[in-house]
């Protein structure tokens, strides 16, 4: 059963890779597609996560992926304010994760 699922996943992955390389579109979209799929995998984990801690991990990783998004937008559209957004997002996502972890531990925010 597990081997079957692995093979289905491999076929899906190779199919999506070939589609990404052959279908007519701009370089920005070609580079962005893997990140969008990664974000959907994160959202899947946030949706089904059996414990609250799994959901917190998903939110943390989603924040780091968005930094990658901002970087790629900046380099392909030549607007360098996207990098400023990425730096601000890195610091803000760190603080929000610390707050969520504290909440998970069962302490108040001002302790």
């Amino acid at each position: 059963m597990r081997t079957l699922r692995w093979i289905i996943g491999l076929i899906l992955f190779v199919g999506l890779l070939i589609l990404n390389l052959t279908v007519e579109m701009s370089t920005l979209l070609r580079v962005l597609n893997p990140l969008i799929i990664s974000c959907f995998l994160c959202l899947w984990r946030i949706g089904i996560g059996p414990t609250p801690a799994d959901r917190v991990v998903g939110i943390d990783i989603l924040g780091i992926l968005i930094i990658g998004f901002c970087g790629i937008f900046a380099v392909f559209t030549k607007y360098d304010f996207f990098i400023d957004i990425a730096i601000a997002w890195a610091l803000q996502s760190f603080i929000s994760t610390i707050a969520l972890a504290k909440f998970l531990e069962g302490r108040a925010f001002d302790e």
């Binding site: 984990r45 991990v57 990658g68």
Partner: protein, 110 residues
């Protein structure tokens, strides 16, 4: 030339991002998921930032990208550590096939 090298770095980073998120879905318990996703996604996003730095050189954008990578390297392990410690204190169990849990033993004693 520098465009090509930068693009290679960006594509490597994207591959590691994808593998990290795959680990987030496939691995069996919270701590293993945290391992795979934190390492691979941090390294992948740093790879994207270094690629931007190589493509742009010492301009405003390149230096800011490098600074962003440094911030990420400093903050991502700390937040992962905070989540893991909070989850262990809140009592989320390890995977049932885990070998040993010294932290639980020491907490029980003290």
């Amino acid at each position: 030339m520098s465009e090509t090298i930068g693009l290679v770095f960006i594509i490597t980073g994207l591959a590691f991002d994808f593998l990290g998120c795959l680990g987030l879905v496939r691995l069996p318990d919270l701590y293993n998921r945290l391992q795979a996703s934190t390492k691979c996604v941090t390294f992948g996003t740093c790879g994207i930032m270094v690629g931007i730095f190589i493509m742009n050189g010492f301009t405003g954008m390149g230096i800011k990208a490098l600074l962003c990578a440094v911030f990420l390297l400093l903050t991502a392990p700390v937040s992962a550590h905070a989540i893991a410690r909070a989850a262990h204190i809140a009592g989320f169990k390890l995977w049932e096939k885990s070998v040993c849990d010294k932290y639980q033993e020491d907490k029980g004693k003290g």
